[in-house]
Symmetry: C2
Subunit: 355 residues, 2 copies
C-alpha cells in the first residue's frame, strides 16, 4: 500500500454527539489532497489538517463545473475495528466520471490507498452508535486560473470525512415519491452515468417542488422519451412486480450505483428473478393498480435501502404494500447493513478492513 | 445608481501588453463581491482587491455545481470613453439562470450597477488597441459548508474583469465545424437555456474530440431527437438559406444569446427575412449540397460573429460560400462591432456609457 506523508493537525477537534449528527456538516481533523498538472501528472499526495482551500476567483470549477465526486462510508464493526464497503467500486466509478468530464483519471488503487490511510488516521472519528458511520467524500475539481472553456491543466483531488448519524434513527418509514414530468436530471449522451456536479445542480429544482408538495423524492423519467423510469432522488430504484425484481437498465443516463449492484448480486444469489430493463411509468402504475406491484425501494449509500410507500403521477396515486416496508426490502436492508457493519458474515468479500 | 463601498488595492498591477493578451488569464486590480444568506437576502455588496477566495472543502459548489455565470464586455470608444453593450440583458439572463438553479435571484439593476461601478474603477484596464476590450465575468456560486443535496442557504456573487485581445487579430478566418452525434450538451427540461457550469463541463469532451480531428467547433444537436441543430461551440448559430436567415428557435436547451438577439433585431431592421425555427442537420446539409446555403455563422460575445467555412456530418462535407466570409456575415460583424466600440452611431440604445 502506498503511504502518503502526513502533516498532523495541532489539536483534535471535539467529536460531535453521535446522537444528533446531521449529514455532511461536521468534518474530521484531516483531509487528503493530491495535485495534477499537465506534464507532471498526479503528484504530491498528502494528508493535511482539514481547512479552507484558497481558490482563485477565476478557478475553472467555479465557472464550468469541471468536477466529479464519490461517496462511501467507513463502518465500526462489533470487534471495534473499522471497515469499508467495496471501495474499489467507488474508485472505478470515479475513473469513469473523470473520463467523461475530461479530467485525468486517478489510479483506482491510489484512491483506495488514500481513503484507507485517511480513515485509519481518523479512526477515532468513526462513531460506534448503531447505524452511524463515517461518510467519505473523495472529489476532484479543475483549478486552472483561466476563463477559456476547455479541459483544465491543473486539478485538485481531495478526500474529506464526516461522521454521520443513523439514517433511520426513528425506524424505517416508507416515503412518498412523485414522477417529475417537467425537469430532466440527465439524458443519454450527457453525464447521467457520472457523479459530476452538474447533474445534482440540475436536480435541485424538482426536489424542492416535490418537497413543497409533501413528497420526499422525485422519480426521474428519461430525458428523451419522458416515459422510462430512471432513478429516485439520488438513488437507484427497484420494483418487485409479480415476484420479479425489475430495475432500470444502465442506459447512460442512470448512475451505476454500488448499492444497486450489491442488491442485484444478493437477489440473484437468493434465487429471486431480476430484470434490468426499460420500465415505463405507465407499466409501473398499471402494475400497481392491478395489485401486482408488491414492493418498491430506492438504493444508495446514504440510506442503503429506502422503501417507497406511495407514488404519484399525473393525478394517479398508488400505495405500495399498504405503505409498509415489504419483506424483500427488509431482507435486503438487513443483509447489506449487516455486512457493512460486520454483524453478519461477508461471503462476497465486499468489506475491506482498515483497522 | 447604487454605490458600493470600495477597499482599494494597495498598488495597481502592471498592465499586460495589449498586443499579446490571452483570453481570461489576466485579471484587474479589483473585484466585486456580494453575499447571500437565507433570512438576510443579498447583502454587503463591495469592491475589494482581486485575490483568492478562501473556500471550505465541503462548499456546495465544489460538489453539486450550484453555480451560474454571465459574460459581457466593456469597450473603449474613440472619444476615450468606456461603454457596455446591453448589460441589462446579461443581468436578466443571470436572473433566469439563477431561477432554474434555485439560486436566489439578484435584482438586475443591482447587477448592472455593480458592473458599472467596477468598470469605472478599472477604466484604466480597458485596452484601446483595435478589437481589444475588457471582458466582464459576473458569477454566483453556492457556499454552504454542507454535503446535503439541496439548494444552498448561502451564496457568493462575484464580478471579475479581464482585458482581452482582438478575437480576429489576423483577420476573420471562417472555421471548420462538425456535427457531434454522440455527446449531448443540453436537453429540454435540463439547464441548456441557462449559463450554469454543468452545461460547459458536459461539452468539453466533444470539443476536445473536434479539435483532435481538425475542427474548431462542435455543431450541437438536440438531446431528444438528435437531429435538430442547437448551437455551435459556445455560440448560437445562423444560416442564410435562399435569402432567408434561419436560426434554431429557443426550445429550452438553447442559450438565449444576446448577440443572437441583436443580430435578429438588425436583420429585421434591414428587411432581411428571418425565421426562428427547428432546423435539422439533414435540411441544412441538403440545402448546402443543393447550393442554397449562402452563409453560416456563430454569434457570441467573445467572437461577436464567427463565420463558418466548412461543415462535416456523417461523412458528408460541405463548404460554405467558398470558405470565405459572406457579405451578410460581414455586415453583421461590422455593424455590431461598430456599435460596441462606438465607431458608428447606436440608433438602438444598446450601449451604456460608463465613463
Ligand atoms: C444520482 C445517484 N443515483 C444513485 C446513487 C446510488 O449510488 P450508490 O449506491 O453507489 O451510493 C447515487 C449516490 O449515492 C446518486 O447520487
Ligand atoms: C452556450 C452558449 N451559447 C451561446 C452564447 C452566446 O451568447 P451571447 O451572445 O449572449 O454571448 C454563449 C455565450 O457567450 C454560450 O455560452
Amino acid at each position: 500500500m502506498q503511504e502518503f506523508p502526513i502533516t498532523r493537525a495541532p489539536a483534535s477537534k471535539p467529536k460531535p454527539d453521535p446522537k444528533t449528527l446531521v449529514f455532511g456538516k461536521t468534518f474530521t481533523d484531516h483531509m487528503f489532497l493530491m495535485n495534477y498538472e499537465t506534464g507532471k501528472g498526479w503528484h504530491d499526495g498528502r494528508i493535511v489538517p482539514y481547512g479552507p482551500i484558497p481558490m482563485e476567483p477565476c478557478a475553472m470549477v467555479l465557472h464550468y463545473a469541471q468536477e466529479v465526486f464519490e461517496g462511501l462510508k467507513a463502518y465500526r464493526s462489533p470487534d471495534g475495528g473499522v471497515q469499508l464497503f467495496r471501495p474499489m467500486e467507488n474508485a472505478l466509478r470515479l475513473k469513469s466520471s473523470c473520463e467523461r468530464l475530461c479530467i485525468p483519471a486517478i489510479d483506482p488503487q491510489t484512491v483506495v490507498d488514500a481513503i484507507t490511510q485517511l480513515v485509519r488516521l481518523e479512526a477515532d472519528w468513526v462513531p460506534s452508535e448503531p447505524g452511524t458511520s463515517l461518510y467519505i467524500r473523495p472529489f476532484v475539481f479543475a483549478t486552472d486560473p483561466s476563463l477559456g472553456v476547455h479541459a483544465s491543466h491543473t486539478y485538485l483531488f481531495a478526500i474529506i470525512c464526516s461522521p454521520v448519524g443513523a439514517y433511520y434513527a426513528e425506524g424505517i418509514n416508507p416515503v412518498r415519491i412523485y414522477v417529475e414530468d417537467e425537469d430532466v436530471r440527465a439524458v443519454k449522451g450527457g453525464t447521467g452515468f457520472t457523479k459530476c456536479g452538474g447533474n445534482y445542480a440540475a436536480s435541485i429544482r424538482a426536489s424542492e417542488r416535490a418537497e413543497e408538495q409533501g413528497y420526499a423524492q422525485v422519480l426521474w423519467l428519461d430525458g428523451v422519451h419522458r416515459k422510462y423510469i430512471e432513478e429516485v432522488g439520488s438513488m437507484n430504484v427497484m420494483f418487485q412486480v409479480d415476484g420479479t425484481v425489475i430495475t432500470p437498465t444502465l442506459t447512460g443516463s442512470v448512475l451505476p450505483g454500488i448499492t444497486r449492484k450489491s442488491c442485484l448480486e444478493l437477489l440473484k444469489s437468493w434465487g429471486v428473478p431480476c430484470e434490468e430493463r426499460l420500465i415505463t411509468a405507465q407499466e409501473l402504475f398499471d402494475a400497481a393498480e392491478a395489485g401486482k406491484l408488491e414492493e418498491a425501494w430506492g438504493t444508495g449509500t446514504a440510506a442503503v435501502i429506502s422503501p417507497i410507500g406511495e407514488m404519484g403521477w399525473e393525478g394517479r396515486h398508488v400505495v405500495v404494500n399498504g405503505g409498509e416496508i415489504g419483506a424483500l426490502t427488509h431482507k435486503l436492508y438487513d443483509t447489506i447493513t449487516g455486512i457493512q457493519w460486520g454483524t453478519i458474515p461477508d461471503p462476497y468479500g465486499w468489506t475491506v478492513k482498515v483497522c
